[in-house]
Amino acid sequence: MDATSSYQATVAAARDSYSQLLAFLIPRAGGDICSAEDALSEAFLAALSQWPEGGVPDKPEAWLLTTAKRRLMDAQRRGATRLRHEEAIIHAIMTAEAAMDNTHDFPDERLKLLFVCAHPEIDPSARAPLCLQIVMGLDVSRIASAFLVSPSAMSQRLVRAKTKIREARIPFQIPAEEEWPERLDAIRDAIYVAFNTGWDSSFLDGCAASDLEEEAIWLARLLNRLVPDEPEILGMLALMLHCHARRNARRSPGGEFVPLAKQDMQLWSGSLVREADKWLRLAARFRSPGRFQLEGAIQSVHAQRLVSGRTDWVTIEGFYRILRNHTASLGAAIGHAIAISEVHGAERGLQVLDALDPIRLSTHQPFWVARAHLLRGSGLFEEAHVAYQQAIGLTGEDAIRRFLIRQLEESRALQEVT
């Protein structure tokens, strides 16, 4: 294990223990999330700075709990605590200590915490940020930047949601069986939103690179561990892992963007690809296909290039056709257009794009990238160049912008010679 990955393992361990403790403390401290976070946050920061040097302690939860309690007691002695439910928090910490002494495994109540974060009473735009902050301990400025929101606005959004949880007494419990599917979908969607905060490069890249890729994968793995038999959760995890497997191939050593078709497959992570495929096979046993399993399967076909040396576009096109019965997302339609163009030619792909709703598309970058690509493939250079301009103007990531500018120049040169 190299230094970076051992550091990452330590951070993951700290996060794991932190979230497990927090899930235990919050409901036992009157549902007061802010106070429970405050009580644990210093201990969590101490773990992040001390564990990489000294190693992860044998009982990480106990370490965090002892550290948190000591700091709370110190602050109390100085008369410096500002926690709203101080006595309740200290009592909850004592309960946690007792639970730790009595059992080998500390109870994992994080699923209840996830259900609270994605509760129907919580504004949908706050759900993913809540998961990231409460379950992962991510700081507000990081979350705000990833979601392209001002930190003060994000902070307000989170405080409002937490107040709601406390005041509306949103229960920390596993929902009844009939509510289960819908509530679980809400958690899954919140995690997927976190995965999708990145830039629009989906068709060039096979999938979107995200600022919060690793965090979202951590949450998806957690959810899959807590609820192991849900095919769409397995599918979402597989989709994320396939995308993540290519992270080192997306940029050249000089920092230039490398589209999927040109990526050096030696830079793909074989172990992540194998893991993703393992989850997909497991999901397939439930014979209940869905959007995430299909998207995961499409990425799996792309990954097979590693073995076969070619991309099986016929199979990909078939998967997209089924996917479009499951979702009206623009991404699915655009991906389908590209797949059709690979099988039947650019003109047929353009027909798919032309059939889409123009109002939804005027500022949708992947649409303009795909359209430019297919117009150029059809020899309609003038229109292609207008589409390239629009795509470049809508691109936020510099490497992709430079790539598209080069594509436009190439297309202009091609027009000259034809």
Partner: protein
């Protein structure tokens, strides 16, 4: 709601404008961005600005005029241009600011425009 997007660039970025090798990509990025903003119907007004060394600064102190060449104060990043856009809220303004080339190499400040009726 109107927001000013203030595009800041370093002197290195300003130099790209006349770099024989790199200027085409610089201008391609900016012209695509301006056209996209204009064609989306949110543009109120805006302009690119010539580099800071072309500036002249005037101050009047106690009735005495001070005119000097160059910007008011040298700083790491200087104003390279601005747009005023009309969008529903700050989140949308941020989305448009994120697509500005300056956000990737310099910075973009988003400032609400004063409402003259208040």
């Amino acid at each position: 709601m109107q927001y000013a997007l203030l595009f800041s660039e370093s002197s290195k970025d300003f130099a790209l404008r006349n770099d024989p090798e790199k200027s085409p990509a610089y201008w391609a990025a900016w012209s695509a961005y301006s056209e996209t903003v204009a064609s989306s119907g949110i543009m109120v007004c805006g302009s690119g600005l010539q580099p800071p060394e072309t500036a002249t600064t005037l101050r009047i102190e106690n009735g005495k005029r001070h005119v000097h060449d160059g910007p008011y104060a040298e700083s790491k990043e200087m104003l390279g241009g601005f747009f005023v856009i009309d969008v529903p809220d700050l989140n949308v303004a941020l989305e448009w600011a994120a697509k500005a080339p300056s956000s990737s190499y310099g910075s973009t400040e988003i400032r609400p425009v004063l409402d003259p009726n208040k």
